[in-house]
Symmetry: C2
Subunit: 440 residues, 2 copies
Amino acid sequence: MSTAFLTDRYELTMLAASLADGTAHRPSVFELFSRRLSGGRRFGVVAGTGRLMTLLREFHFGDDELRYLRDNGIVDADALRYLEKYRFTGSIRGYREGELYFPGSPILTVEGTFADAVVLETLALSVLNHDSAVATAASRMSIAAGERPLAEMGSRRAAERSAVAAARAAYIAGFSATSNLEAGREWGIPTMGTAAHSWTLLHDSEEDAFRAQVASLGTDTTLLVDTYDIGVGVETAVRVAGTELGGVRIDSGDLPIVAAEVRAQLDELGALNTRITVTSDLDEYAIAALAASPVDSYGVGTSVVTGSGYPTASMVYKLVARQGADGGWVSVAKASSDKASTGGRKAAFRSLEDGVAVAETVAVSDGFEAVDVPSEHPGSRPLQVTFVEAGEIDTAHEGVTGTAAARAHHLRVREELPVRALALSKSDPAIPTVFVDAVA
Amino acid sequence: MSTAFLTDRYELTMLAASLADGTAHRPSVFELFSRRLSGGRRFGVVAGTGRLMTLLREFHFGDDELRYLRDNGIVDADALRYLEKYRFTGSIRGYREGELYFPGSPILTVEGTFADAVVLETLALSVLNHDSAVATAASRMSIAAGERPLAEMGSRRAAERSAVAAARAAYIAGFSATSNLEAGREWGIPTMGTAAHSWTLLHDSEEDAFRAQVASLGTDTTLLVDTYDIGVGVETAVRVAGTELGGVRIDSGDLPIVAAEVRAQLDELGALNTRITVTSDLDEYAIAALAASPVDSYGVGTSVVTGSGYPTASMVYKLVARQGADGGWVSVAKASSDKASTGGRKAAFRSLEDGVAVAETVAVSDGFEAVDVPSEHPGSRPLQVTFVEAGEIDTAHEGVTGTAAARAHHLRVREELPVRALALSKSDPAIPTVFVDAVA
C-alpha cells in the first residue's frame, strides 16, 4: 500500500509550482531538528527512523493516487507526469535510532533536488515526532524503574496503528515487553499479558477464574487479584496456584500501601517468590515513588503511549541550504520573529570528557561539502550515519534487527549522560548545544 | 490486511483459557464507556465508530497470524482452531458518531459469546479513545471559531496513520477541511494547503516565490507572508498578485497585533477582500482570544491532533452482564476500590426540555431484554443505534457517507446543549447522568 498520501497537500502544490518555474531541480538540503526539548526534559530520544525507512519503500504514486490528484485539481499535468515516476533518489543521513538529541541537533538531513526532498516532509515529521515523544517519555520511565522490568500496555489509549509504533519506541528506550501482538510480530518485541477483570467477572467466582487460568497458562502465570477484595484475591490465588504462583497483578488502589500489604501477605502464605506487578496509571513519577516498595515489575499504559504529557515532539523540517541561480550554495533560514533557525548543512558530534557528555557540537558549513570533526574535543563521537544513499536504503536500520540494535544503542549512549541528566524534574537540557564553524 | 493483531495479547490468552473451561460460549455483554470527561470538559464527542466498522471487516486470523501465535506459544491448538474460523457474529449497538457523551454513557454495547466479544476490546478502545479525544477538542475549537472556517493541519504532529484518523475526527466535530491527502481520499474530507516557508527560501527572493505560486495556483491562492518581514511580505504579495489576492497566511508572531496590522495594510493597499489565515500554535483558547481580531480563517495543528492536552479519552471496555451457570443473566462489575462501575445492560436517552438537554438518562436492566424509553421525559431522544447485527455491519456508518452524516449529526445535537456547555473553562459535565431502573 502506498504511503505517499500520508502527507500534507501543500507538499504537492509546492512541487507542482516548482516544476513550473524550474526550481524543482535545485539541489537542496532539508534538516529535521527541534528548537527545544518538550516539557523541560533534559534529553530527547530519537525513534522512528527505522519505521520511516520501511514507509519510504512504499512511497510512490500509483494509479489511485494520481487519479485523486487529477480529479481534485490538486496538481497539473506536468506534476502528475513527474509524480508517476517519483522515487526518492537523494540521500538521508542522521542520528541513529535510540540516540539522544538536544535543541538544534540535526536529527535527519535529507538531500536531493527540492522536488525529491520536499515531499517527504510530512511523513518524516509524523513518524519522528510521534515515536521520539514516546521514546523520550519511555526512557525517563526506564531510568526511574532501574533494574525492574517495564512492560508497555497502552495500546487501548493510542490509535490502533500508533499503538504498534509506540510499543516499538518504548522498547527502544528500555522497556522490555509489550502487550501489543502486532509489535511482537512486526518488530520482534517480546509480548506479555494474561487476563483482565472481565476474566474474573465471566466466572461464577474468582476462584473458578483463577483455577481456569492456572489450568490454561500454568502456575507461573500472573493472576489479577483486585476485581473484588485484594486480600481475599491474594489468599485465593495462592490457595489455587500454590506457593509457586508466578505473580499477582494489582491494577488499582494506593500502590505503595497495597504493594507492601500484598508482599507481606504473600510472604506469610509462603509464596516468597511470587512476583508483584503493578499497572495502575503509572508514569515516571509514580514509578520513582515506588522505588522503595516491594514491586517486581511495572506495566505502563496511557502515560507512555501519550508521551507522559507531551504526545508529540516539536521537530520541524526546514530547508537549510540550496543551490542558487549562480550555481553556488546558499544557506537559508526563516528570519521572522519567534521561529528563527540556523541555516547551513551541519555535522554533529557528542563531545565527551572522560566518557561523559559535555556538549552537543554542531559544525555548520556554508557550503555543500562534508565537514570534519571539530578538533577541540578529540573524544567527540560522530552522531550521523547514512540511512539512504542515492535512493538506496541501508537495510541495517529496518525490521527486527534494526529495532534491537536501536535499543542496545540507546542503553549504551544513555551511559554517557552526566548524572544530572537522569533527574525527572523540569530543567535545561543536560548538555549545551554548541554551534561551531565547520573545518572544511 | 488483517487487523486482528492490533490487540493486546491477553485478549487471546483469555479466549484460550475460556475455550478450555467452556466459559467461552457464555452469552456476554460488554460495554464501552467513560467514567469521566477528561480535563474538566463539559461534554465529550463520540468519534471512530465508522473507522471501527471498517477495521472490523478485516478482523480475522490468517495464516501469518496463526503461525505467530503457534510459534510463540501464545495460545493452544484448540484456540488456534477457533481463531482460524473467527468472525464476529454478535451485535454492536451504540451512540452514533458525532453524538455527545457524558460520564457513564453506554457508548458501545457489544454482545455475543465471551469469545466473540472479548477479542474486540483493544481495537475498539484504540479507535474510540483516540478519535473521540480529537473530536472533543475539535468541537470546542469549532465553537470558539464561530462562523469562521477551521482547517486541520496537524498531520506532522501525529503518527502517520493517526493523522488520517485525526483529520476525520476533527471534520466530524466541525472543522471544514484538512491538509491530509489520505483523509481526503479515504473519507471525502475537503483538502487545503498552498506553500511552506521552504517555498520562499527555495527562491532567490520572496517576490520570485510569490510570482511562481500565483502563476501555478492562481490569484486566489494564499501567500505565506512571514518568512522574512511581514510588512514587506504583505506589500510584495499584493504587488505580485494584485488586490484580488485570495489570502495571506501568518504563521508566527503575536497574532492579535499582527492580524490587525496586516488587515490595515491590506485595506490600505486596496486588497479589501484578501483574507487573513492564521496558523501559529492555535488551540481553543487562542482561537477564542482572536474573536475580535480581523481573522478570516484558522489553521490548527498540534493542539487538535493531540486532543488539546488530553490525547486520549478515558473509555474502558467492561463486561457488564453474562449468562451464569444456571442459564440466567447476571449483572457484573468490578467492585474493588477506585475503579468501580455499574453492571447491567443499558439503554440511553438524551432527556430534553423545550429542546434543551437536561440529563443523560441511562436505564439499567438486570436482564438481557431490550428496555423502553423511561416515561418521565417524553421528549427523550434515544441515543443508541445498531451498527452490527448477527455479524452483519450496517454500511450506513462507514466511508464518505458515514463521515458526512456524523458531521451533520454532531452539529445538530450540539444545538441541544444548554448555553453553559459552550464555555471553555474547566467544569462539571453540562448535564448529569441519571441512572434509572429499566421499564421491562
